[in-house]
């Protein structure tokens, strides 16, 4: 079975008009799909996005539509600011087009919020990680706590159970159990 990559290997080098149209269309598709994915990731409605961009909900809907191609860098910068992200633009060779085709998945299009970005983990978190590392070098052994014991009792043996714990319950088959701390 031929893959999309194989198809592009055959078609892109031979036809200039084809490859430029292909690249243009994948760009449109990436931009509109990522705008929607990022807005949804942040739980922002089209109305709220419109307010941030000082435009209408209809205009935001149009921006997220796959057949819309009239966006410009100024608009994209505004969108990036509204999403608290940066806009990056690079020139690419055609050999990477198939990777763009593969990247139209939600998890590949989502981006960290500044508060979740591991690059900017707080100083406090870093201290904890560093001190943990120090303890490891001191041959600190972590001993897992044993699981809580579950003792089974025959039905009707309430006296023993009451003595052990009041946190008793009843299983599906009628046997009673108690958590022993």
């Amino acid at each position: 079975m031929s893959s999309v990559r194989d198809e592009l290997k055959n078609s892109l080098p031979t036809d200039s008009e084809y490859r430029h149209a292909y690249a243009d269309e994948i760009l449109n598709l990436l931009v509109c799909t990522q705008m929607r994915v990022l807005r949804e990731q942040r739980g922002i409605t089209q109305e709220a996005m419109a307010a941030a961009l000082d435009t209408t909900q209809t205009a935001v809907s149009r921006l997220e539509r796959v057949n819309y191609s009239a966006w410009n860098i100024r608009t994209l910068k505004k969108v990036a600011k509204a999403l608290d992200l940066r806009l990056r633009i690079t020139f690419e060779s055609f050999g990477t087009l198939w990777k763009d085709v593969q990247s139209l998945k939600r998890h590949k299009l989502e981006r960290y919020k500044i508060t979740d970005d591991p690059e900017f983990a707080t100083a406090k978190d870093t201290t904890v990680e560093e001190s943990a590392a120090t303890e490891t070098t001191r041959d600190f052994k972590v001993v897992p706590r044993p699981p809580k014991q579950i003792e089974m009792f025959p039905p009707g043996d309430a006296t023993d159970i009451d003595q052990i714990s009041s946190r008793d319950s009843e299983t599906h088959d009628g046997a009673r159990y108690a958590l022993v701390g």
Binding site: R5, E7, D15, N67
Partner: protein
């Protein structure tokens, strides 16, 4: 890398008119249509379906829209057996003055969908 869904095309015997329609499109429109088919094939319909597959007036028939020198309308259906893993290209049409060319494009597509549903081994082939 494995594809997320399998794309088929209607095949009623020679001429293979869906493939012929695609091959005869100008380079630019063919590229734009292929991007959408490739994107669906590679990534599935969960994220992209709502945006790439537009409803038509005919139930079960959707269209992939390409606007260029020619307004291409590739009429398709999800499935028809498993809407999450299959997509079938049924008929290639154009649009002029908000009307399909040919006028009965939707009916042709729906008739083909019914044929494919009746015997998938006879009426469709894998689109690669």
């Amino acid at each position: 890398m494995t594809d997320a869904i399998t794309v088929f095309r209607y095949f009623g015997g020679p001429p293979d008119d869906v493939q012929k329609f695609i091959n005869e499109l100008p380079s630019s429109e063919r590229a734009r249509l292929n991007v959408k088919i490739h994107a669906l094939r590679t990534n599935g319909v969960v994220l992209l379906g709502s945006n790439l597959l537009t409803d038509t007036n005919m139930p079960h028939i959707k269209e992939i829209v390409v606007n260029g020198r020619v307004a291409v309308r590739m009429l398709v259906c999800r499935g028809p057996f498993d809407g999450k893993t299959e997509l079938t290209l049924l008929f290639g049409a154009a649009e002029r003055d908000r009307k399909y060319v040919p006028k009965n494009a939707l009916k042709i597509a729906d008739d083909r969908r019914k044929l494919v549903a009746s015997d998938p081994t006879r009426w469709r082939i894998k689109h690669e």
